[in-house]
């Protein structure tokens, strides 16, 4: 990927991950951070039971509040997601998510034939909305025990970020936890293993198909401050942007697709500079009548 040379994305991802998951003594002791920063969500999928985590995972937090017997709606977490979504959309996925970084690194391993999509790709990409609605919202809300307490079903049966960054390091360092593992741990490790192998040949399979947080941010992509604009007078529909996109998005037709993680590769590949990323700082846009943002 010669075009990725000089792209600061990997450094931003690594720096952000080091900042939000930088409680190093947690890894050494096999314990988690318990300070006041854990009141606040981080924007990406970063497990709060990771020994290095300094903040709270928004998807775990959403399930915790919805599953709590005291609340039927999660204003605090949804408010945070709306603010992050409105400003950044899925830019969070491309630049600020530790589990996105893990998949990016796995995809750099030069093994196997790299795929652009799987059979049934379109339908598979809808799965993340099913995961969001079913495992993150409805089950924690409605499948409750005798005191009215629900469970975080997404964390329990799927989340590979939890398995990788919390399950494996904590089980490795705690005898008690090691004795408690059973079929659920085996199942979650199987999900993780499949995604790890798939990530080597297919870019970001978890983000494409399963991540409920990506599903939320994707809804904001068309309206976020951080979005794409196509300069139609410059665009020749040559398709260079789509060929550069590892998610195979027809960027010139659909610049603000809910699948786009704002990695910026399409923009760098466009020979006519027809793609522009708008942001909070973009005051004035020239030739508005000849642009497309939807």
């Amino acid at each position: 990927m010669g075009r990725e040379k000089g792209n600061p994305r990997l450094w931003v991802q690594a720096g952000w991950t080091a900042l939000t998951n930088g409680y190093l003594s947690g890894f050494a002791k096999g314990k988690i951070y318990r300070g006041p920063l854990k009141n606040y969500c981080v924007p990406g999928l970063s497990c709060y039971s990771c020994p290095g985590a300094l903040g709270a995972c928004p998807i775990g937090s959403l399930q915790a509040v919805l599953g709590s017997r005291n609340y039927r709606f999660a204003f605090y977490v949804l408010g945070f997601l709306m603010m992050a979504g409105a400003v950044l959309g899925r830019f969070v996925c491309g630049w600020l998510c530790p589990f996105g970084l893990v998949q990016d690194l796995l995809h750099k391993i030069p093994l196997g034939k790299k795929l652009r999509r799987l059979p049934g790709e379109k339908a598979l990409r809808l799965l993340r909305y099913v995961v969001l609605l079913g495992l993150v919202i409805l089950l924690p809300l409605y499948v409750v025990d005798f005191v009215g307490q629900g469970q975080p079903w997404f964390c329990k049966v799927i989340c590979p970020a939890g398995t990788l960054t919390a399950g494996l390091p904590l089980v490795a360092r705690n005898d008690g936890l090691r004795e408690a593992v059973g079929w659920l741990f085996a199942w979650k490790n199987l999900v993780l293993a499949v995604l790890v192998v798939l990530s080597v040949i297919l870019w970001r399979p978890f983000c494409r198909y399963l991540c409920p947080l990506g599903a939320v941010y994707g809804i904001f992509n068309p309206i976020a401050f951080r979005r794409f604009r196509v300069e139609e007078r410059a665009c020749t529909s040559c398709g260079a942007c789509q060929r550069a996109c590892k998610l195979d998005i027809p960027v010139w037709k659909e610049p603000n697709s809910p699948d786009c993680v704002r990695c910026g590769e399409c923009q760098r590949a466009c020979p006519h500079n027809a793609l522009e990323q708008l942001g909070l700082w973009t005051k004035k846009v020239a030739n508005d009548l000849t642009t497309q943002e939807e």
């Binding site: 854990k38 039971s49 709270a56 937090s61 509040v65 605090y76 603010m83 939890g162 741990f185």
Partner: protein, 48 residues
């Protein structure tokens, strides 16, 4: 087109998000988040 008009939906979401966030704090929802985040989450690990 001005910055405000071009970003009206984002501004509306930002404002609504801030109000939701503040209302959530007023209801004490952040204590649920904090309590969950400072205790080992057995479901995340794959035990619970």
């Amino acid at each position: 087109m001005t910055f405000l008009r071009r970003n009206l939906p984002a501004l509306a979401c930002l404002l609504a998000g801030a109000l939701f966030f503040a209302f959530g704090v007023a209801r004490g929802e952040q204590f649920v988040v904090f309590t969950k985040a400072v205790n080992l989450c057995l479901e995340c690990i794959g035990i619970g």
